[in-house]
């Protein structure tokens, strides 16, 4: 048996997509949309339970991309131009930093902002985890419009993330990375690891030079391959077994290509790149993989 994880922005249902269209045209009220989002989220949580997914995050149905609500909740950051996400045909609004970011919104309350998406109305069920883009990815996907030192910016983002975790009573957090670290060292995450359990979804396979200096361990570290040395920095390891960029459905049996340190399987990117119907099937398959592995 392996634990299974579904994280990040999940595709909207046809009903939700249409509801957003109607809301944008002023045909339904913000409260009505909020209620539809709530219903859709709880239907999602039920599906996770039904499919045997043990760990899952808020599906972020009220988000337009993985950065925007965070950006809209912070001072000194503005939304820039639409920008392509990696090699996909999906676009996000590039954040522009004009100073040290500070959370200034109550993230637990639903609120409509000038820019479309309501703030992260974390309608979490009893089990769902928080999801955030890693500070490293947030900065790399942004433009610095002020003379800011990157290390200062990264540390300040960690401080703000700790505030978010506290606002949700210390919920565990899935931290998502879009880019390989290269020579980048992420030890500045240590205070965040101290504040709550963190599952890191990394790109590539992090190396000693990326992790050196971390005093606290990740709860799990999911990479694009298995390296037992990562256990120096994580209680367990995970692998990516399902593609979020292909509609082909994976077989339910998973090769035992990992060693005993691997106890978590998940997908290789957040699922929002797939049609909803396919994402739902992949979740079921992931659940079965966990059972049969």
């Amino acid at each position: 048996m392996l634990k299974t994880l579904v994280y990040g922005l999940y595709p909207r249902s046809e009903k939700l997509r249409r509801s957003y269209n109607r809301w944008e045209r002023g045909m339904i009220k913000t409260e009505d949309l909020s209620e539809i989002i709530r219903e859709e989220k709880y239907a999602f949580y039920e599906m996770m339970e039904r499919s045997g997914i043990e760990i899952y995050t808020d599906p972020l149905f009220n988000w337009y991309d993985i950065l925007r609500p965070i950006v809209l909740s912070m001072e000194n950051v503005k939304l820039g131009p639409l920008t392509r996400y990696l090699e996909t045909n999906t676009f996000y609004r590039m954040p522009e930093f004009y100073g040290i970011p500070r959370i200034f919104k109550d993230l637990t309350k639903f609120e409509q902002l000038e820019e479309n998406p309501p703030l992260p109305a974390y309608q979490l069920d009893g089990k769902s985890l928080l999801f955030l883009p890693s500070p490293y990815s947030l900065v790399r996907m942004s433009r610095l419009e002020a003379d800011l030192r990157e290390d200062v910016l990264l540390r300040s983002l960690v401080d703000e993330y700790i505030k978010i975790v506290k606002a949700f009573s210390g919920r565990k957090l899935v931290l998502f990375d879009v880019f390989d670290y290269g020579k980048h060292n992420i030890s500045y995450l240590d205070p965040l690891l101290q504040s709550t359990g963190v599952i890191l979804i990394a790109r590539g396979i992090p190396k000693e030079q990326n992790l050196k200096g971390l005093k606290h361990k990740f709860e799990a570290l999911v990479a694009d391959g298995v390296d037992r040395d990562l256990l120096n920095y994580s209680d367990s390891l995970g692998i990516k077994a399902v593609s979020a960029h292909k509609t082909k459905i994976e077989g339910a049996s998973i090769e035992k290509k990992m060693d005993d340190s691997v106890d978590l399987i998940t997908h290789d990117d957040y699922m929002d790149f797939l049609p909803r119907e396919i994402a739902d099937i992949k979740v079921e398959v992931l659940g079965k993989m966990g059972d049969t592995a």
């Binding site: 392509r84 045909n89 929002d272």
Partner: protein, 343 residues
């Protein structure tokens, strides 16, 4: 060769009677009747506006540039909508088997439009790289393999169009426009772009142009012009330009990179023509004739030879109402006429 030929790029807003029921009636005699009616009305708009080349009558037979061909290819299946940005979604097909053309994409349309006007036409067709980029690849080994398969299919389609054209052209030359909005998306894949486009047009006897828009860096395209078997390029420039009048580099930032195009073009044995987008299709503001004149004159300061410059909107005008679309075309033609008088 005629100087400063005016042309449109492809799509024009569909009349409500066609747009409303398009998906419900597609493939029925009723659809044919309405698509033909809409095409005739759009050709009237284009002719009334004074366009030299009336394209394919505003693409009334097609809903959208990706879906239309993809739905006619065996091996592609649609599972549902995928986010483009915000709450905007599109139907993204999955290549799940070897691709084969199920039926022609545009032959009926070409046949009808050619018989409905005696003006020059230009047939737009979505290019292989964009088809690949906008599809899930669940079958082929690589992105290159998938792009080359789309190229094979597009080549079959173009050969069918050529056969039809020979019967209905009335002596007009065949003009094909390969639409490749995704062309410069991945700089490291420009070899795939070039190979797949060249394969698409293999053996086609006619004038082949290419349309690219909203590229972050046209220089990626310009650098590969010597390798592409393409006669000319119809590109978007006004969206990145200012709305103020003027002929200086500062006033015409959208058109600055024509200098680099010219540098490349002048080094070729056989120069390419360039269709310059002089009206922005993403705003309702109808650019005044004088502003469009400035854009054309600025381009001519760089390119010098009006025989290799064509005048068009940035992209298809389907994003605007038919009324605004027509006003934009009218101003474009008026500006061209004024510039011609002073040449």
């Amino acid at each position: 060769m005629k100087e400063l030929i005016t042309q449109e790029i492809g799509s024009f807003r569909k009349p409500e009677y066609l747009a409303r029921d398009f998906h419900k009636i597609e493939g029925t005699p009723r659809f044919k009747e309405l698509a033909e009616k809409a095409t005739r009305e759009t050709l009237e708009v284009f002719e009334r506006s004074g366009l030299d080349n009336v394209g394919i009558g505003g693409e009334m037979f097609r809903w959208e540039m990706y879906e239309h061909p993809a739905e006619r290819i065996k091996g592609i299946i649609f599972y549902g909508m995928v986010r483009s940005f915000d709450n905007r979604y599109y139907r993204k097909g999955s290549a799940i088997d070897r691709l084969e053309r199920r039926e022609p994409f545009h032959v009926d349309e070409v046949n009808f439009v050619a018989r409905s006007t005696d003006r020059p036409l230009k047939v737009p067709i979505t290019g292989p790289y964009t088809m690949m980029e906008w599809s899930f690849n669940d079958y082929y080994e690589s992105r290159e393999d998938l792009a080359m398969e789309f190229a094979r299919i597009i080549n079959e389609e173009l050969k069918d169009i050529q056969r039809t054209w020979d019967k209905v052209s009335g002596g007009r030359k065949l003009e094909i426009q390969i639409d490749e909005p995704a062309m410069t998306t991945h700089p490291d894949e420009m070899d795939i772009v070039v190979e797949s486009i060249n394969r698409s047009v293999e053996g086609i006897d006619g004038e082949i142009s290419m349309h690219v828009c909203y590229s972050r860096d046209y220089r990626l395209l310009y650098d590969r012009i010597p390798d592409l078997k393409i006669d000319g390029y119809n590109l978007e420039y006004s969206n990145r330009d200012l709305l103020e009048r003027g002929l200086s580099d500062e006033k015409r930032p959208g058109f600055n990179d024509l200098k680099y195009f010219t540098e490349i073009n002048e080094s070729l044995q056989r120069r390419k023509f360039i269709g310059i987008g002089v009206t922005d299709v993403h705003i309702d503001y109808v650019e005044p004739v004088e502003l469009i004149e400035d854009r054309i004159n600025y381009a001519l300061k760089i390119i010098k030879d009006p025989e290799i410059v064509r005048i068009n909107p940035d992209c298809g005008l389907r994003t605007r109402s038919r009324e605004i679309g027509e006003q934009k075309l009218r101003n474009m033609v008026a500006a061209r006429n004024n510039v011609l008088k002073n040449l």
